[in-house]
């Protein structure tokens, strides 16, 4: 696809959890727990629908569900603040400094006073019904590895509860994650190719991590995308699980929008107008009195009826694939499910099917006087609501692409979550005072953000590291260790140190558990002192980590000490008489016999000297 020509713009929202000693608005440890919770508290949320609905259609969708929320917590690591039983404490300074450091990295305008805001969130994931958030920087810009990245905002906010279970009208959340500090960086719309957007997402994430103050591990970074193309709409995609999935999600969303535009064009060319879609529904249960469809029989058995919505001009469109295995009718079904809870709908493009005979389909068509239709299986008060949203979505199809919030599936496709939230559903947190951004606070932040990611990467690459290895080091927890070891052992190539830290240690720790930093250093020191060669590093580290013995002892026990240059010379001499004087042949011959004991540079030097006749 020619993304540039399509006017593709992607905004990124990168959320990174911080490894702060306490939560953002209370003094609890930010710790996720697996054991049985100590207590459960049951709550409801209430909002004036007329008032909120007017500004926020998204909230209206959430609230319709009238759910009960169960909050699980621990007496020793969740407190009354998370339970919404106590006002927030002063914001955590560590997190505030870190967010300011990130704002400085992106050259953002930092406010002189920060105001904590309440962002209304009514899905129960926040006990209070709002998320506390503060704007730390606006209008930032950074150039990293050639990418011009505009940053609209940097915010410091509290993470929400973890959803543990959802059972109809009852949702269970765990309080442990609520209040964990998150830095959120929102980029301006980026006009790059999908794979480049993924790389920018990585760079933004690493920038935050490069403060050394980010949590590591699964679930600590979350990325949302805002995707739009010319003629389409801004669609927010929540929770893209991995960086590598980003290009696919973008491509599939572009495809979806293009297909929706195609549908709109086709409907218009058929002369279908929004007013033609009415909520004209008929009870057609009688047609299925003797049906062989198990689906319909069991629904009727549960007291449901079959309702048919007639649709002029939609033949072939309902079954049109907008994303792999996701048809236009899936878009309708998603909305129906979210709004009314009705599990499924059937449409004329997939019938006969599901045990429904062609006679039954023909009877429905005859009754409705229309080719295309949707069947709803359920009780009238549920179906009534389902029809309402289906009609709404069908009308939008004629106009184009709806603005909405969608959730990413693991295959890169997306499903409807809710309409896009209105912009203004924030008001000040009245329980906290404004925070003055003092010179002292900025200075502390500056010390954290002493070096930008760009500078860091180019410095590493200047030391001879490949771009890939430099990236890996920045991501890893070993960047500081690397710099220390590289300066302490100048005769060990930085690439070797970097590879040991990013790959060797990881592999060894899989087998031998945590590798102490001191052991890694003694390995580098043995390399530096010529005691061992890099080819045996992994084997030695593993043995040392498992046995608890020092590297040099293990090396001697295993016979993996480095051969002296004199020994190397005589080995090379033997090799030349066996395989001739070709460098490649000599090297592979020697290495096959002495790998892990002989250094390749010694072999090269010995052969060169030998050939010069010295």
């Amino acid at each position: 696809m020619k993304f540039r020509e399509l006017g593709l713009k992607v905004g990124l929202e990168i959320h990174v959890q911080l490894n702060s000693p306490r939560k953002l608005f209370c003094h609890c440890r930010p710790e996720l727990r697996g054991e049985e919770p100590h207590f459960k508290v049951r709550r409801r949320l209430r909002v004036s629908l007329s008032e909120l609905g007017e500004v926020d259609p998204a909230a209206l969708w959430e609230l319709r569900k009238q759910r009960t929320y169960i909050y699980e917590g621990y007496n020793d690591s969740t407190c009354l603040v998370e339970l919404d039983e106590e006002p927030p404490h002063e914001p955590d300074e560590y997190s505030l400094e870190t967010a300011l450091a990130v704002a400085q990295m992106f050259n953002a305008k930092i406010p002189d006073e920060v105001y904590v805001m309440r962002k209304v969130v009514v899905d129960g994931s926040n006990t209070s019904g709002f998320q506390r958030t503060m704007l730390i920087g606006v209008d930032g810009r950074a150039k990293i590895l050639g990418y011009e990245i505009g940053v609209e905002s940097i915010a410091l906010e509290e993470d929400a509860c973890r959803k543990m279970d959802e059972d109809g009208e009852r949702v269970t959340y765990r309080l442990d994650r609520l209040g964990v500090p998150l830095v959120e960086v929102s980029t301006a719309p980026l006009e790059y190719e999908p794979h480049e957007v993924a790389e920018i997402a990585a760079l933004v994430g690493y920038s935050i991590k490069s403060t050394g103050r980010a949590k590591r591990g699964i679930g600590t970074v979350r990325q949302d995308l805002n995707v739009s193309i010319v003629g389409g709409a801004k669609v927010e995609i929540k929770g893209v699980p991995t960086l590598s999935l980003i290009p696919r999600v973008i491509e599939l969303e572009v495809q979806r929008q293009l297909n929706l535009l195609r549908i709109s064009g086709e409907l218009r060319s058929r002369g279908v107008r929004p007013d033609d879609v009415t909520d004209d529904v008929m009870d057609v249960t009688d047609i299925f009195a003797n049906t062989t469809s198990n689906l319909i029989r069991s629904a009727i058995g549960r007291g449901a009826s079959v309702y048919a919505l007639k649709l002029h001009g939609f033949s072939g469109i309902l079954g049109f694939e907008v994303q792999p295995k996701r048809r236009f009718a899936t878009e309708i079904a998603d909305r129906v499910r979210v709004w009314s809870g009705l599990g499924g709908i059937l449409h004329s493009d997939e019938l006969p099917g599901y045990g429904i005979s062609s006679d039954e389909v023909a009877a429905v068509r005859a009754r409705l006087g229309s080719d295309a239709f949707i069947l709803f299986l359920g009780e009238w008060d549920v179906v009534k609501e389902a029809v309402k949203v289906a009609v709404e979505r069908l009308r939008i199809a004629i106009i184009g692409v709806p603005e909405e919030t969608r959730a990413a599936n693991t295959d890169g496709t997306t499903r409807f979550m809710r309409p896009r939230p209105g912009a203004a559903r924030m008001y000040p947190e009245t329980d906290l005072l404004p925070i003055r951004v003092t010179g002292d606070l900025l200075e502390r932040a500056r010390r954290i953000a002493s070096e930008t990611l760009e500078a860091k990467l180019s410095r590493l690459m200047g030391m001879g590291l490949s771009r890939e290895l430099a990236f890996q080091l920045v991501k890893s927890p070993y960047l500081d260790t690397f710099e220390e070891l590289a300066s302490r052992y100048p005769n060990v190539p930085p690439t070797v140190i970097g590879t040991i830290l990013t790959s060797t240690v990881k592999r060894v720790s899989k087998e031998a558990g945590e590798v102490p930093e001191g052991l890694v250093e003694s390995l580098i020191s043995a390399l530096s002192g010529g005691l061992i060669v890099k080819e045996s590093a992994e084997e030695l580290l593993l043995a040392a980590a498992k046995s608890g013995k020092p590297i040099d002892v293990v090396a001697r026990e295993m016979g993996l000490t480095r051969l002296s240059y004199e020994e190397a010379k005589s080995i090379v001499k033997d090799a030349v008489s066996a395989v001739g004087s070709d460098m490649g042949k000599v090297m592979s011959y020697v290495m096959r016999k002495y790998r892990g004991r002989i250094d390749a540079s010694d072999v090269r030097r010995a052969l060169e000297e030998l050939l010069k006749g010295q």
Binding site: R42, E86, M117, V120, M134, D139, P434
Partner: protein
């Protein structure tokens, strides 16, 4: 830059920022302009960094200013809701972040749709006071308003009140309302009503269910029974105390158990006792309270001059919050004797809150008894103070000791229930 104007600000670094100028916070620096940005956030910008600005629009203020008048909505038995303060209903203007109190009964029905068909509700604005600003004269005003609503045919009255001194006002009404056709139900919120998680709505629903359906006609407090939503505890006004600064279930029965529980989802009221004052066709209110009663807490080192000063000021009665069974240090004995000699009534309660005072067990108690200090059984100190203020205003001063010792509104019981003590661990 005037609040509510939409401005475009050019900063000294060349950046341009647009937003709505906000009213400054009490703690906003003098050199700061507060802006609400398009994304909803407020930020403060130093005036030093502003190179120039222009007004690009005006934000129309949303007006929810409502007439301070008595209004009714809904259908069915009528419950009056007297508003004394606290923002039990509020509206948020998300464009400016402003929170406004509301007295609109229709808005109440929208927020609490469960009320539909349950009762008609008359909202009666009385005044708008912080709980801590309430004076005994305010209790009189509430009592008069309650009388008036009951006379107009309300089956019960709800009083919206800030929570800090709610138990004083609830006790006051317990003494002031001698008989009535329905209960007086005090209600408030620990979490402000602008937040979706506010306890205000369920508390109010529980209060209205109680006002309409309870068989008793007492002054009670209706607040959350636990940290869970769903159950509202109905406490006697004379047996309840705010025991936590922030929790929803802050109101705790002292030396008693709650009178009832309301399941707000089912709309049921379940009595927890069969002993209560029933609804009566008469309305009998004695609303006067004296300002010459005092409540004083003893502490180690308390100087006797504090008592002398109270007597000097002309108080006619003092409730002491003594230690344990009802003791004070010997340094106070002379002052107490002088006070009693000049006709000031002195009563003893305990700062342990739970349990009964007893001046016969230890010698200090016996000394206090001999001086003429009167023990008040298991009456809570605040309740004793309120009752004293009421007794001084409604009885000849020499009858006050007898009135204080006589249970009038379940404020004294002679049996100590084993389950009437709240403790952890």
């Amino acid at each position: 830059m005037e609040p509510n104007s939409e401005v475009r600000i050019r900063l000294t670094d060349g950046r341009v920022i647009e937003g709505i100028v906000m009213q400054p916070h009490l703690f906003t620096g003098h050199d700061i302009v507060v802006l609400k940005l398009k994304n909803g956030y407020n930020i403060g910008i130093s005036k030093r960094d502003i190179a120039g600005w222009e007004v690009i629009g005006e934000v129309e203020q949303r007006r929810w200013e409502e007439a301070f008048e008595r209004r009714t909505a809904g259908s069915g038995d009528r419950v009056s809701v007297i508003v004394t303060g606290g923002t039990i209903l509020s509206r948020v203007d998300y464009r400016t972040g402003g929170v406004y109190p509301s007295l609109d009964p229709d808005y109440l029905f929208e927020l609490v749709p469960e009320l539909e068909g349950l009762a008609s509700v008359t909202v009666v604005p009385l005044f708008s006071k912080f709980s801590e600003d309430m004076m005994p004269t305010d209790w009189t005003a509430i009592a008069n308003a309650v009388e008036s609503e009951l006379d107009r045919g309300a089956v019960g009255v709800v009083v919206m009140h800030g929570t800090d001194t709610m138990h004083y006002s609830a006790a006051a009404l317990a003494f002031a309302l001698r008989a009535g056709p329905g209960p007086v139900v005090f209600v408030g919120a620990q979490r402000s009503s602008d937040r979706p998680s506010s306890d205000a709505y369920e508390n109010l629903l529980g209060a209205i269910i109680t006002a309409r359906a309870a068989p008793f006609a007492e002054s009670v407090v209706a607040m959350h029974g636990g940290m869970d939503d769903g159950v509202i505890a109905i406490h006697r006004g004379t047996r309840v105390r705010k025991m936590h600064t922030s929790r929803r279930d802050t109101f705790t029965a002292v030396n008693d158990v709650p009178l009832a529980h309301v399941d707000v989802e089912k709309g049921d009221l379940r009595l927890l006792t069969s002993d209560y004052r029933e609804r009566d066709s008469r309305v009998l209110v004695r609303p006067a309270f004296s300002d010459r009663a005092a409540l004083i807490k003893y502490y180690p080192g308390m100087p006797p001059q504090l008592l002398d000063a109270l007597v000097e000021m002309g108080v006619r009665g003092i409730v002491l919050e003594g230690t344990g069974f009802g003791h004070v240090g010997e340094q106070l004995l002379d002052s107490l004797k002088r006070a009693i000699d000049v006709g000031v009534h002195v009563f003893m309660t305990s700062q342990t809150l739970f349990g009964r005072v007893n001046l016969r067990v230890y010698s200090r108690g016996r000394e206090l008894l001999r001086l003429g200090v009167m023990p008040l059984e298991d009456m809570a100190p605040e309740v004793a103070y309120v009752k004293l203020a009421w007794a001084l205003a409604n009885y000849p001063v020499d009858r006050v000791p007898e009135v204080m010792a006589t249970p009038l509104a379940y404020e004294i019981s002679y049996t100590s229930r084993p389950d009437a003590f709240t403790k952890c661990g």
